[in-house]
Amino acid sequence: MVNFQEISEAVVAGNAKKMKDLVEQALKEGMSPKDILDKALIPGMAIVGEKFKIGEYFIPEVLVAARAMNAGVKLIEPFLSQVEKGYAGKVVIGTVLGDIHDIGKNLVAIMLRGAGFQVIDLGLNVPPEKFVEKAKSESADIVAMSALLTTTMLAMKDTIYAIKKAGIKNKVKIMIGGAPVTQKYADEIEADGYAPDAATAVLKAKELLNIR
């Protein structure tokens, strides 16, 4: 019998092939897809986030772990109803204007999808008006912005200004993250939330939408 811990370990080890075998086996054995997600995949990625935080894992290790998690999510997704997915909310995500680094943003998107969020990924070098337009047309619950550079981080402020100007600041929650970003900066520019890594970003998104 496959157990949750084995699946979690496959996430932590970044072993997509083993993940596929284990999840297929677990589904055959009647394990609930929702349990696979909540009790194995997400906790596995939380361990990865912790290892990243303490400097044991770096971006390449996190990327292969996210890839392994994604392999598991893809297998269970068809079996999850909207309710079971715990449809958590809609997130419009992108790397801000002037910044062409998308690894961090991609990781957060994978993690959010894994946690049941619907994610609309605008890609990189996204101008403020694009964030606003999509947040409006998709009735997004969260706008999430990423930046790798201290220079481009400043575009987050411009985007928040555009969101305010469009009159939707009270309709969406704004999350920011990326290497140079801090809680202090988030407070300064009036973002609703900041997360230092992808695993924390999921917790923060849930917190902002009052999801347990």
Partner: protein, 323 residues
């Protein structure tokens, strides 16, 4: 002019370039694509700020462009590679076959260096991209990260080739008269110390052993976790960003290694005022007092909108004698 740190006084070489467009009333794009315009801008920067050394504009797309990749330019934003399309060994073989040495915009930068070395008596620097960062430009950084975890042998092949390309360009820059060539390896900041040694440091060591002692290494952002490994490459010096404590770094690396840095280009140069920048400069100089081999500089390339009076205040404070 050679690099001489023996006088006991720190050299002052901010990473100028982009802010100079205000002096020459030009755009970043014009400077990166036109040798005459960039030279004029650099001359104006030298005249106005009188630094101990000057570097051409920083541009991380030159080598990838020379290998045939397309570059998107904006008037006043850094250029970027349009498609990171060299993903497979077959793609690599194809660019390797076509590679003919110096090409693309490399001659622009070579001529600028040659001109500066001939006409100015100050230290002339130059930049080349680092091997790991260049492979990231070729195949995409995310792809590179996955490959180094799962197919490292293929990554070694890419690194072997790009190291040759970088060596050819760095050799040409040194021959043109560069006193220092800084290897820009920003993408390596995401690696663990072990992976840094395996996928970047080892190749930088090859460059050092092939090209000699005029190479420095620069990694942006928080490189604290790989400082030891960076210095072990045999490099002449390290240029580090503001999250690194330079004083502590001087205790980690051998005293022969030059340390260059590292006032915050955003919070200090871009966003503060002349009084604040003078204070930050003074604090750094006090901290580094007595440390040989220190070059006072900005933590990174200065942003295009950096107020010129802030650079002036930095230079003024840097030239004052220490109490």
């Amino acid at each position: 002019m050679g690099l001489d740190l023996s006088a006991g006084k720190s050299l002052v070489i901010p990473l100028l370039g982009a802010p100079g467009v205000k002096l020459s009333k030009t755009t970043l794009r014009e400077n990166l694509t036109n040798e005459r315009i960039q030279l004029k801008t650099l001359e104006l920067l030298i005249e106005k700020f009188k630094p101990d050394g000057i570097f051409p504009f920083m541009d991380l797309t030159v080598e990838a462009e020379a290998l045939g990749l397309e570059v998107d330019f904006a008037d006043n934003d850094n250029p970027s590679i349009r498609n990171h399309c060299i993903k497979t060994i077959e793609n690599l073989k194809s660019i390797r076959r076509r590679y003919k040495g110096i090409s693309g915009r490399m001659p622009i930068f070579l001529n600028i260096v040659e001109n500066l070395a001939k006409n100015f008596s100050l230290i002339v620097g130059a930049y080349v991209i680092g091997p790991f960062t260049l492979v990231g430009e070729l195949m995409g950084l995310e792809n590179l990260c996955l490959n180094l975890m799962m197919k490292p042998a293929s990554v070694y092949k890419f690194l072997d080739f790009v190291t040759r390309v970088i060596k050819d360009y760095a050799y040409a820059l040194l021959t043109a008269g560069a006193d220092i060539v800084i290897i820009l390896e920003p993408s390596a900041v995401i690696l663990s110390p072990r992976h840094f040694e395996e996928f970047s440091g080892k190749y930088i060591s090859h460059l050092v052993s092939d090209l000699g002692t005029k190479l420095m290494l620069r990694i942006c952002g928080n490189s604290n976790h790989i400082l030891k490994q960076m210095s072990r490459t045999g490099i002449m010096g390290l240029s580090v960003d503001s999250p690194v404590n330079l004083k502590e770094t001087s205790n980690i690396v051998s005293e022969d290694v030059i340390l260059m840095g590292n006032l915050d280009p955003i919070k200090v140069f871009l966003q503060s005022n002349p009084e604040e920048i003078a204070k930050a400069t003074r604090i750094l100089l006090e901290e580094m007092k007595g440390i040989r081999n220190f070059i006072l500089s900005s933590g990174c390339d200065l942003p295009i909108n950096t107020p010129l009076e802030n650079i002036e205040a930095f230079m003024f404070e840097a030239r004052k004698p220490l109490q």
